[in-house]
């Protein structure tokens, strides 16, 4: 993998020792102010590491803090506690300032494909914005569209003429065009038709890995995560309760909550017993 070649130039100069994780979360917490005046800890004491060219699945039921964690990683929320380090650089909250150059290597694909593209700008313009960050990545608008199986003439169109799945692929192409080292997908397949979910998830994985990036793939659906992730982190009520290689999570879950999640998956694979469901 040639992750260094794909990265923005500024980041490569400071690359830490090869053994260090690409992304490291150290007891990160995030609080939301409640209307009543109190505070709610949506993410609490999360420590996680993401290696190079690794796909980490993040699963947990709705409201457990997955999106908040994704925002913390991108600098869209300010940690109440702890630190996020990307490639040796501390991730600072974005605020109103321009995003720091060395953090541009973290890109995100959002859950709602209907909101993630600008309705008044051509697809080409939106892809060009991302390509400008990564002119040496070898991508063109046409090759990006081809990579996500869309016809080249899509570039001239506006988002309203695309279906949800097509929009999500454009959003993936845009994130990819920026030459990310970490691609965060916040339930990117949750609003798609069932038959599309696996396909889009795999497409994301393949494109990320082929371009030398790592990926954090968030989902509440364990079965899709199983298909594409190297490791899985299980989140419950703001905490990571278990992190393990995918096969191990699947075959030998340790935490009761993980077992509960696995038990909730319908038995469709013909392999028989799903561990933890007895």
């Amino acid at each position: 993998m040639t992750s260094i070649d794909q990265a923005p130039a500024a980041a490569t100069a400071h690359s830490p020792a090869a053994g260090a994780p690409l992304l490291e979360l150290d007891s990160v917490a995030c609080e939301y102010k409640l209307d009543g005046g109190g505070r709610f800890r949506a993410v609490n004491g999360v420590s996680l590491q993401l290696g190079r060219s690794e796909v980490l699945g993040l699963v947990g039921e709705s409201g457990c803090g997955k999106s908040t964690l994704a925002k913390l990683i991108c600098g869209l929320e300010k940690p109440a506690d702890g630190t996020v380090t990307f490639d040796g650089h501390p991730v600072r909250a974005l605020g109103l300032k321009k995003r720091a150059k060395e953090l541009l290597g973290i890109q995100m694909v959002f859950q709602n494909p209907y909101a993630s593209l600008n309705p008044r700008r051509r697809i080409r313009d939106q892809l060009d914005d991302a390509l400008a960050l990564n002119p040496d990545g070898g991508w063109t608008v046409e090759s990006l569209l081809d990579a996500v199986d869309l016809p080249a003439d899509s570039a001239q169109r506006y988002s309203h003429s695309f279906s949800g799945g097509q929009r999500q692929r454009i959003a993936i192409a845009r994130a990819l065009a920026a030459g990310p080292k970490v691609l965060v997908g916040d339930e990117p397949i949750a609003s798609l038709d069932a038959f599309l979910q696996t396909r889009i998830a795999r497409m994301m994985r393949d494109l990320a890995i082929d371009s030398g990036a790592s990926m954090i793939f968030i989902s509440h659906d364990l079965s899709v995560v199983r298909d594409i992730a190297d490791r899985v982190a299980v989140m419950e009520a703001g905490r990571i309760v278990e992190v393990a290689p995918t096969d191990q999570i699947w075959n030998d879950p340790q935490h009761p909550y993980t077992k509960k999640l696995l038990a909730a998956i319908p038995k469709v694979d013909g392999k028989g017993i799903i561990p933890g469901s007895d």
Binding site: L76, F110, R121, L133, Y158, H160, G165, A178, R199
Partner: protein, 310 residues
Amino acid sequence: MSIGTPKQPANAPITEAARRDPVDPGLKRWQIRFPKALRTPLGIVGAGILVLWLIAAIFAPLLAPFDALAQNFPRLSAPNGENLLGTDTLGRDVLTRILVAARTTLPAAVFVVICSALLGSVLGAIAGYFGRAVDEIIMRIADLVFAFPTIILAMVIAAALGPGLKNAIIAILLVSWPSYARVTRSLVMTARGSEYVIAGRLLGFSAGRSLAREIAPNVISPVVVLATLDVGSAILTMAGLSFLSLGAVPPTPDWGAMISEGVSQFAAWWIAFFPGLCILTIVMAFNFIGDSLRDTLDPHTAQEVGETTS
């Protein structure tokens, strides 16, 4: 790469919304759907009246039968073969003065609306995007202006600055920008949190670029609608100010001033009636057009635009 066994036939063919024809080029960046908007009956009527007025204003020197300032005719003569709309207290031709007045009123109203739309939406966008103290300051000033009836505040400002068309324009500008600020602010606040704007920020857009490139194209239509609706009230306010001798200085022809003159000459109804008719038709035209444009906005935005103009 050893990952779990796939569960479903994952490479199922894509039937997804059977890739549509790439014919529809969609909305252009700054496009507002004028043609569709003007397909409503009221829109057509409004556009028709407006076109007539534009022709009248542009060709006024050719259409006007006489000199607007010359006092050549019998005073207070009723509409007749020579003075089609009669003459005023100084023996000037009313039709001529109406046509000439249109040449200042219409451009002045459009100008003041464009200026206040620009001023108001820039301030509103800044308030909505940056929030906090900037927002507080801008919107409290806007609230202050809103607290007074428009015409009263415009009167006070115009009176303080002294009569004249320029000062009337400044007065109207100062009282009318807050409605644009309000609408733009709330639209920008909504847009700021949407994923496509955040995606732009993640790509390293500055605040200015984010506002200009991502947000502006999405908030421009409601502002244009509001501005169209506002031309009518700008004309009314301008007429109101000159009615009170706070607008164009005599002997410059002006609809508001003509009505004011006619009020004291009750028997000579034509002096006030025809300028009044002018104001009525042009205000109606802009409101019809604005209303039909508003119908093309999505219901939520339309409601917001409606709230500030009601």
